[in-house]
């Protein structure tokens, strides 16, 4: 069970990954008679949570760059484990920023040379300065990307306080997360994180059992209830952890939760089957429920969003040829096509301008500007997501990213938190 198919993303990535692998294998076999050719096509092995491991991206990379892409999709915690303990098992790491904080001190990542990134200046300043493009500061609670975006030196084990030439990762995708609800089964407006623990939904709520993310959702709830005051939700003190876990435990004992989920598909099933009507959720999971024709809303809440971000980075073991290929792939990744593809999944891409060129005005208006759709909105794979006139949950990029309250995080009291979280699960 360690190598699960999915954490975030659509449901069939394992198969897609297998197809890709099979494709690569087939290419290798077909290529056998011409083995005397100077160089085989580059195969990039990408390990990550699979949040953006789409076969369409691999195919497009093959078409544009001639590279074979192999994905290894792991659950979040296993990505960290893999990066620290088996860094030679991948050529590019698709990493979330909170993980970076754990991995960089291990010294297995090289970091990315910004001089080799053509569009470096176009990357949204969330990552480079901690600001939204209009200059307002973005929330810094939790592991905010800009805090772990730069290294002191290439391959360094410490983070730089300001911008340097070496980024830990080139950002690719990010989003603002909130609670998913079944509007048809709830039948009234939901406006606050407190609703997760509202006794009205006793036995019909769920929270995700990935401690570092679950604790943040719990903190959003406790803070909204006014039960706990945090100095920094993303870096709690032991007392704050105790208080948060105590509230969760009490709710659990009262039978508030139907289940806890760890895996993307579990959250989809819980919601689609009606076992749960309100729960922590990820954006593509909401889409997956809706694709089954079941109403599901990614409900914006007045206290704001819990955000996360991911990027691509290289391990230290690559030789020059592979490193060149990795840079070429990363440059291609932010050059527009992939960005448009990811935006259509409901994610956000790191370089907005290039993505816009690849989207129709209707798509750009719907996904990025919060405008009503003027034509049917299709998923990247062609399924109908929304009819004309629909508006995206939460509205525009600015409304959503501007309302971020905290980031997925690794706390200083991580060790204590995991122990307490285990107690909560055992309670």
């Amino acid at each position: 069970m360690s190598e699960q198919t999915k954490t975030e993303g659509t449901g069939i990535t394992r198969r897609r990954a297998l197809e890709t692998t099979a494709l690569a294998a087939a290419t290798a076999i077909v290529g056998f008679p011409t083995v005397l050719r100077a160089q085989e096509p580059v195969t990039l092995r990408i390990a990550g949570t699979g949040v953006n491991a789409y076969n369409e991206i691999a195919e497009k990379a093959k078409e544009d760059l001639g590279f074979n892409i192999q994905y290894t999709t792991l659950v979040s915690d296993d990505v960290v484990k893999r990066a620290v303990t088996q860094p030679t098992s991948f050529d590019l790491l698709d990493v979330e920023y909170w993980m970076i904080k754990k991995i960089v001190p291990a010294g297995t990542l090289l970091g990315m040379d910004t001089k080799r990134i053509a569009l470096f200046d176009e990357i949204v300043p969330i990552f480079t300065k901690g600001e939204l493009p209009d200059g307002t500061k973005i929330a810094d609670q939790g592991t905010a990307p800009f805090e772990v975006s730069f290294l002191e030196e290439e391959g360094g084990k410490t983070f730089a306080s300001g911008a340097t030439e070496f980024m830990t990762a080139i950002p690719t995708v990010y989003n603002a997360d909130t609670l998913g609800i079944r509007p048809d089964l709830i039948g009234r407006p939901i406006e606050s994180w407190t609703e997760l623990l509202n006794p009205e939904f006793q036995g019909k709520a769920s929270i995700l059992n990935i401690p570092s993310i679950g604790i943040m959702d719990a903190a959003m709830v406790c803070e909204a209830m006014g039960a706990v005051t945090y100095a920094d939700k993303g870096n709690m003190t032991k007392e704050e952890i105790d208080q948060t876990i105590a509230i969760l435990t009490e709710a659990k004992k009262d039978g508030q939760f139907r289940a806890f989920w760890k895996d993307f598909n579990e959250s989809v099933n819980l919601m689609a089957s009606g076992e749960v009507v309100i729960q922590s959720m990820w954006s593509p999971a909401v889409t997956a429920v809706r694709q089954q024709g079941i109403p599901c809303v990614y409900q914006p809440l007045k206290e704001g969003y819990r955000a996360w971000a991911a990027g691509l980075t290289v391990p230290v073991h690559l030789d020059d040829r592979m490193r060149d290929a990795a840079y070429e792939f990363v440059n291609w990744y932010i050059s527009g096509w992939v960005g448009a593809f990811l935006n259509r999944q409901g994610y956000y891409t790191a370089v907005l301008e290039t993505a816009e060129e690849y989207m129709t005005p209707n798509e750009w208006g719907f996904w990025m500007e919060g405008q009503p759709a003027t034509a049917p909105i299709l998923s990247p794979t062609g399924e109908l997501l929304d009819e004309p006139g629909a508006v995206r949950d939460g509205g525009s990029y600015w409304e959503r990213m501007g309302a971020v309250a905290c980031w997925n995080a690794v706390m200083d009291e991580d060790r204590y938190m995991v122990r307490k979280w285990n107690e909560f699960i055992a309670a």
């Binding site: 915690d77 289940a259 089957s273 699960i425």
Partner: protein, 282 residues
Amino acid sequence: MRALAPYLQALPLALVFATFFLVPVSLVVVVSFFDYQTYQVLIPDFVFFNYVDVFTSNVTYRTYLNTLKFCLLTWAITLILGFTIAYFLAFEIRSVPLQIFCFLLCTIPFWTSNVIRMIAWIPFLGRNGLVNETLLAWGVIDAPIDWLLYSDFTVVLGYVHLYTLFMIVPIFNSMLRIDPALLEAARDQGASAFQVLTNVVIPLAKPGIAIGSIFVVAIVMGDFVTVNVLGGGQIASVGKTIATELSYLQFPPAAANAVVLLGVTILMILALIRIVDIRKEL
């Protein structure tokens, strides 16, 4: 040379045993005394706090109690079920081909992965599942029964479904070795069917019962998948605690927990072996 031969014969198995059992377990024991930090997975050291953490946390005791509860329930149910089915196969069915056919029937569920067999219960037992919808339609209940899914009940149900065969096989095997003449003799001496069962069949099937029990106890004690899938992630087990610690790169406390779990399981199996001397009976 003659003296060396038995050692050479034992060597391959000894090597396999050393490589795949002794070395890993020793490593786990060693690591359980290491220190750890968030950013440094293993810090060689000789500290006891991983064990102190395990033994001073009341969660440990609650978790073990819970796991033992599952273990006991599963053991009792699979034993009764397994024994009954094995008895039926061994003594009630006379023709050997039919016996083999029925035995193969028992193994059919094992043709799919155990995760799939587990997950199959979810649409069956859910709030809008088959059982609840049927009972609602028949008017037996007014509201869906919630405890059918994601509860202790579901977890035990899952274990019984998955592991009864591990009871059936060794008990069936022991029963096949019972000489039918013994049963006949007992009956001739005036023993009732129940007396035959308690005085002849059960004592002679003991090794099978012991082996089946070891399988079930060892599997349930270490399980973390079933309890997670069918318990809705809400129910604790020792294996799950270890899995959570591992996923957080907290190897030393996970190792300490694993050593304690290993100790407890070995004690349970030793107790079983005290009751039945398997080697003598085989």
